[in-house]
Amino acid sequence: MRIISTLIAVLAAALFAATTTAQEHHDHNQHEQQHDSMEMNHDHHDHAHHEQADQHHDGHAEASSQAVARLTRTDDIETALSEGGEPIVADVLGVVCDFCAIAMNKIFSKRDEVAAIYVDLDTKALSIVLAPGANLSDEMIADLAVQAGYRVAGIRRGNEALGNAS
């Protein structure tokens, strides 16, 4: 029983520390959202082919702690962009693990309209590039997210998705 009590105490301390860190991260994000063009500062997100930036806050209540993400540029997404596909970024609520990412990938990849997809857990954003000439409405994107088990909080297209909007 003494071992259990010790383990609980250690776990409680670790949870408190992690909560404090998460709150600091949350505050940091809120601060960054006041500066439209500041780059996000995720240490573990140094992949050369990933580019993320904060832009403006979209005002959605549930996504208030989430930085507005732009298109995540993987090799597949770059290829689809070069072929003339429309870029789309959807903020997704509840995406916290790889199973969430897999669900989104499976559901969206079944669609012929989707040429490339990437789920970024750091920004909780779904990056899509459509096939040239294809169309996927906001309503359909929201419905596909529901089929995956999640909910879309906001959708940006074209230059706004690329981070080029003024």
């Binding site: 609980i8 776990l11 702690s65 916290v96 790889d98 970024d120 857990l121 088990g149 909910r151």
Partner: protein, 215 residues
């Protein structure tokens, strides 16, 4: 009924509560296989998710303590999912009905077995708490109640496709057992469609091995 340690229930109340099964309901059209082995039983479940609200599967469970096995149909319902930009919470109802049979020379005849319970979890990318319980009625093989709380944290946040690592502690309560309350520290590895949990029950010296693969 043994005396129930008050601290265990206090902890259960504080830690909103969990799932050994990670995401027991998948995306629409998804298949999942799950293996679980704890201090009392080993089980395998294969389930299909027709809609993100529920899944249906076939489950086989070997109760090593009481020498019987249950083959059952196992539905799980997602009663509620709470969404946030940085968190997700879930409330599930799970159950099953099937046949219980003796193993390892257990002479008892086959019986109908039914079980049901609640699972709930809340997680961010670095914090996790959960609760689950189950009541099983297996006729002359006996009835059992169990509940477990789990809490954990991720020492780092991995992105899509990277290796995710969690350190967790599970406290389980089985009132009929000699060791009613036990603790199992475990490590969870999560990468792509695969999840593996390795732990060790400190009170009864039994390993914990859980595996989930999502197709």
């Amino acid at each position: 009924m043994k005396h129930r340690p008050s601290w265990a229930f206090a902890l259960a109340g504080l830690l909103t509560c969990e799932i050994a099964i990670a995401r027991p309901v998948s995306y629409a059209g998804g298949w999942t296989v799950i293996e679980e082995s704890d201090r009392q039983s080993s089980s395998a479940l294969a389930h299909y998710t027709p809609s993100p609200k529920w899944s249906i599967g076939l489950r086989t469970e070997f109760n090593r303590d009481m020498d019987f096995a249950i083959n059952s149909i196992h539905p799980t319902f997602l009663a509620k999912r709470w969404f946030g930009a940085d968190y997700q919470g879930n409330l599930y109802f799970h159950g099953g009905i099937g046949s219980a049979s003796g193993t390892h020379g257990n002479p008892l005849s086959d019986e109908t077995a039914v079980y049901g319970g609640v699972m709930a979890d809340w997680e961010t990318r670095s914090l996790f708490v959960s609760y689950r319980n189950r009541y099983l009625d297996a006729g002359h093989f006996g009835d059992q109640f169990m509940q477990a709380v789990r809490a954990g944290f991720a020492p780092y946040e991995g992105d899509s496709g990277e290796l995710h690592t969690w350190l967790m502690l599970e406290i389980d309560h089985r009132p009929e057992d000699q060791d009613a309350v036990t603790a199992t520290p475990l490590v969870r590895f999560f990468k792509g469609p695969m999840l593996v949990e390795l732990g060790y029950n400190l009170n009864v010296n039994q390993p914990l091995l859980n595996f989930t693969y999502r197709f």
